[in-house]
């Protein structure tokens, strides 16, 4: 069996590069579906409890830092743009531009995590972390009317808040790690216009993590915000 010249990235069980690319693409899309189902369970629990304990959830939501949350949303959207531009650069064979956008993406991801860290710190200081130290005395501001809420239900809100944003942050960390590896490989010239599938697929992953945040942000932060 003669060994024709081919892209060193072509794996031997594939007939050709196109088949490999199609397979990798489909594989990544399927993996994203599993991620949606994974987060879906949490979203389901959140929806059920929000319907049952709306006032407490609104009170909890109003105690989240909407500015930090909104900034983070902006950061992630911009990072998705840099991902798209990185893919474009890879397609065009512009190695330095590609590396640049990958680096910016990682930096933006880390910015997200740092801001999240500040948010969590704030929650800790206000005794809104569920568990032994939890203490919630705020009310639900319903258009001026102050409605007291059951602190146990508010604790449930924060439990879901931490689990959902925590799981999301974990995925962000993995994403940053992934993109850091890609940056190094891109610098070394592994990606050419003929083969940049990992950049595309990692980009898909990043976009999904972004979209999950775009759902998390209004669901968690924007319950009954008026002014």
């Amino acid at each position: 069996m003669e060994h024709e010249a081919h892209n060193p990235a072509l794996l031997h069980h594939f007939a050709d590069a196109q088949q490999q690319k199609n397979a990798a693409s489909l594989g990544m899309w399927l993996f994203l579906v599993t991620e949606i189902m994974f987060f879906g369970g949490m979203f389901c629990a959140y929806l059920v409890y929000r319907l049952a304990h709306f006032n407490a959830f609104a009170a909890g939501s109003q105690q989240l830092n909407i500015w930090l949350g909104a900034t983070n949303t902006g950061v992630l959207i911009v990072s998705s743009v840099t991902v798209v531009l990185a893919v474009k650069a890879a397609e065009a064979g512009k190695r330095k531009v590609l590396v640049g956008y990958l680096v910016v993406t990682v930096l933006l991801g880390m910015t997200f995590l740092v801001i999240k860290g500040f948010e969590y710190k704030e929650k800790f200081e206000k005794h809104h972390v569920p568990g032994a130290t939890f203490n919630f005395t705020d009310k639900f501001d319903d258009n001026g009317k102050q409605i007291p809420v059951n602190p146990k239900e508010a604790e449930l809100f924060f439990s879901l808040y931490f689990v959902m944003t925590g799981m999301h942050a974990l995925h962000m960390i993995i994403g940053c790690g992934l993109f850091s590896v890609l940056t190094v490989l891109a610098w070394k010239g592994h990606y050419t216009p003929g083969y940049f599938t990992p950049i595309e697929n990692a980009g898909l992953y990043w976009h999904l993590v972004d979209i999950i945040w775009i759902y998390l942000f209004p669901l968690l932060y924007l319950i009954s915000r008026h002014s």
Binding site: N55, I147, N150, K152, E153
Partner: protein
Amino acid sequence: MASQVDALYIYLLLVSGLMTALIFIAVAVLAIKYRRVPGRDAHPIEGSTVLEISWSVIPFFVMLTFFIWGAVIFFEERTPPANATEVYVVAKQWMWKIEHMEGQREINELHVPTGQNVKLIMTSQDVIHSFFIPAFRLKQDVLPGRYTTLWFNATKPGRYHLFCAEYCGTQHSGMGGDIIVMAPQDYAQWMAGGPSAPLQETGKQLFASLGCVTCHRSDVQGRGPNLIGVYNKPVLLEDGRTVIADENYVRESILDPTAKIVKGFKPVMPTFQGIISDEQLNALVAYIKSLSQPPTGTAGLQDQPAPSPAQPQKTQVQ
């Protein structure tokens, strides 16, 4: 009820048995008739859409009979009659605590008279249990944090197994007991032999001693809604929803008052979670339910000679 369930079961067994026999016989006959012999090849057959449709649709219609009959029985099982005697059940690891309205308490045993509709109002103190009476063909999970109900009408005197049917820890299999069904005279005798006040009386005392009566007044408009006649009626809430004030609503209002605020009232009621036990909660719920009853009849038994529980002063409110 048990005989209805058995009748359905026999029907299901017959149909299933018939289906099983058909398949077994078909496979056996075909496997023998068409066993491999030299000289005869297999005859390829693609399929038959008519057959496929038939053997999809016909079984489905048969299954519909299963569904409908089962649903009818289930509907009856889940619809307690309005005049049922109520008994409160509190499950805990690993015993059943029973409280009759008349005040009798039992552990792991439930005495009931024949011919009486009995509705159990059950909750758990800890984990999920399940109240299972095989002889009655009935079962209902018992959950912490809310009430679930089970009703029956026992027709034959006797002693019947009670089992816990939801795994609940070490002594799950030891959490059994008996349902003791007695002829009405015997039951009355048993009932008279017991001490303590009717459940509503206990509830009424708690209502006073816990201070509920200071806000939930029936003479003037208090800080809390008037509870006369509230049970099982629709209630309009602050947020616009209308809910029915059933046992779970009453229970929730005591343990988690800010969950549903009645329209026109402020959320000032404190929670009693952790302050009262499940038994005390049951007594309060029984009392509040009794505030809906007409002044004459009792919610208890036809043969009960004991005095009916005292009714509070009634001012008719809508």
